[in-house]
Amino acid sequence: MTVDFLIDWFAAMGDFPVIAFLLAVIISGIPIFLIMALNAIVAVYVERKVSAFMMDRIGPMGQGPGLHAGKWGLLQTAADAVKLLVKEDTVPETSDKFLFKMAPYIIFIGAFMGMAAVPFSSVLQVADFNVGVFYIIAVGSIGVIGIVMAGWASNNKWSLYGAMRSAAQIISYEIPAGLSIIVPIMMAGTMNLQLLIQSQSGTVWGILPNWIIFNNPFTFIAFFIFFISAVAETNRTPFDIPEAESELVAGWMTEYSGFRWALFFLSEYANMFVVSGLAVAGFLGGWQSPIPGMFDSAGWELFWFMGKLILLIFVMMWFRWTFPRLRVDQLMHVCWKVFIPIAMFNIFGVGIWKLIFG
């Protein structure tokens, strides 16, 4: 379901281009929003349970359908969402009120726009661009404006620290992420996500699926650099220094509560979804089946894409509950002195590989 399809469909009904465009955008925006909300609710529940099992706890067991008190805490996140919505939404007296109220929406818009280009299957994609990869990377960095805005407007020293750290971190890690996503673009020769995924059909080395990650050693390394940089871009442990709980209380989110905070939360999980989606599309064959030629009907495509994406999100959760947090200078060291040189070398290596092997 693409926007273009809807626009064409409305255009066929009559000659009202503006109305047709607006209707198409709104109709295709609703499922994105639903996916975002559903993603946050499911991911928060899963994160709670995953962290609980990793920590030898049982996690939420209260709210949920059942005969008595409820089972497995299935509705815990829903209850939390309701709590956040009815909670008092405080705006500090000394804050810059306009920017303070503005910031959550900018962060949300960044995440929301990224979701539009995620290729769920060969037909399920809201907007199919010819520059999809570039688009996701670009809108992904809108969020940092909102973060700096939130940190500055809060008029709180902790928020300011969090915002400055976050800006430095996200801008720095976009470079290795961008440099390593160039590798699949070089391999496939396109920035269109659908074409990128289609180029990954068939097999490589005889048995492995022809995913870009398996194509050659350089792409293999590029995947890991991209994935780690993506984790850093979403501000998750071990790169959660902008909101480092034990240092900065809650970083740039310190002064936020209620619905505005919920928007931050929603955006964080949506960002995880988008960067994992890009990693899956760029390196792990997108909606292609891991067994070439089998299980590749339309339903299976969605299954494979979501399966790979959930696996990556699980790995992010695994990171979070295992690793300590880096210090801000160590973070920059890893980015500028390790990842960027390797990513540069990778581009060079892939170029030569393509030249020799085709």
């Binding site: 920590m55 020293k157 620290y161 220094i241 979070r320 300590p324 947090r325 880096l326 801000v328």
Partner: protein
């Protein structure tokens, strides 16, 4: 703090902050992330322990000692009763000595587990904290079995202990130790040898041995700087001279001697040594009455005593002055966490805010004991 110049900023860490280990306020002068001066503000948890003690009888002081170092109440009790017995020249039955050492070492393990787990939390690792709390819980269960309380025990009395050990305590305790010893390896694999953890702690917050000594830093913090000083070994009290155990000191294995990692690592090694003491004590514990030497009314002779003991945080000293009445004339507590905190300013200058949190965590302070 003086005038703030140029790019500098005064930042208040606390009193409400996740990593101040209680209600401590640090007034930090920073230039960006770099810290140039720290001024700790104390007293948010001041409960007049020493003044209170001058108005209650000697037995009634013991529950107050619980509330000083609430993470190692047994060791707080221990110091006080040992000092009192020295003042009154009482000899306690052997079983009492053994029970006290078992309880003291169990509480040392519990306290170190909390210190290490919370240190992981300060660095950003959540899971080790929960693992260590899980095991600490079993120690608290044993305390509950013995004296009914889980945090503030009021267990050791002058001349004895409040309750004898419950039936089968030895078996339960050995069972716990057998379960617990392999867990230490798990902690090490999960946290200690983690590359990020080492990066964050090694070479950070170095306390050289001479600085540590001149500030009066004691306990694992001093031993982390490579000074082999442990009251249990060097000035043995109770029956610590009967047990075989080592005093682990820092070696600077991943960085400089006396860094945060060394202080962390000394605590980890001390847990194993406590297990060793516990095994010996549980093997040799004699039968007997635990109330035998208990005086009906405590009325020490005129005089004074200063006795220091090794609490999980260092030299815990009690200075008790008696004027012959049932009420102490003066009780002074020498708090190891207080002296440890005093060197924070010198140690953390020039480090980043994240490092200040790491250094503060590695000192393992308990505000109940600092403010008293």
């Amino acid at each position: 703090m003086g005038i703030v110049q140029g790019d500098q900023m005064i930042l208040n860490i606390g009193p409400q902050h996740p990593s101040t280990h209680g209600v401590l306020r640090l007034e930090v002068r920073t230039d960006g992330e770099i810290v140039s001066e720290i001024k700790p503000h104390l007293g948010y948890l001041h409960r007049c322990f020493e003044k209170h003690s001058e108005n209650v009888t000697y037995e009634q002081v013991i529950p107050f000692t619980d509330r000083c170092d609430y993470l190692a109440s047994m060791n707080s009790n221990f110091g006080y009763v040992v000092a009192m017995e020295e003042l009154m020249e009482i000899k306690v039955p052997e079983r009492v000595d053994y029970i006290r050492i078992i309880m003291g070492e169990l509480n040392r393990i519990a306290s170190h587990l909390l210190a290490l787990g919370v240190y992981g939390l300060d660095i950003g690792a959540f899971t080790p904290f929960l693992y260590m709390f899980r095991d600490r819980e079993r120690i608290l269960d044993m305390f509950e079995l013995t004296c009914g309380a889980r945090l503030l025990y009021n267990y050791m009395w002058v001349g004895g202990v409040s309750h004898d050990l419950p039936k089968d305590f030895e078996k339960i305790c050995i069972g716990f130790l057998d379960y617990f010893e392999p867990q230490i390896k798990e902690y090490n694999n999960l946290l200690t040898y983690n590359k990020i953890f080492i990066e964050r702690t090694a070479d950070v917050g170095v306390i050289p041995a001479d600085v540590a000594v001149s500030y009066g830093v004691t306990g694992p913090n001093l031993r982390g700087s490579g000074v082999k000083w442990d009251v249990r070994k060097d000035e043995p009290y109770s029956i610590y001279d009967r047990f075989e155990f080592d005093i682990p000191v820092g070696e600077g294995q991943f960085g400089t001697l006396g860094d945060c990692f060394d202080r962390y690592w000394v605590r980890m090694l001390e847990i194993s040594q406590s297990v060793k003491i516990l095994r010996q004590a549980l093997k040799d514990i004699p039968d007997g009455n635990v109330h035998q030497a208990l005086p009906k009314k405590i009325r020490p002779p005129k005089g004074s005593v200063y006795r220091r003991t090794e609490s999980p945080r260092g030299d815990l000293g009690y200075y008790i002055v008696s004027d012959g009445t049932p009420v102490p004339y003066r009780v002074k507590m020498r708090s190891p966490a207080f002296t440890a905190l005093s060197c924070l300013d010198e140690v953390s200058r020039g480090w980043m805010i994240s490092d200040v949190i790491a250094i503060l965590g590695s000192l393992d302070i308990v505000l109940g004991e600092i403010d008293r």
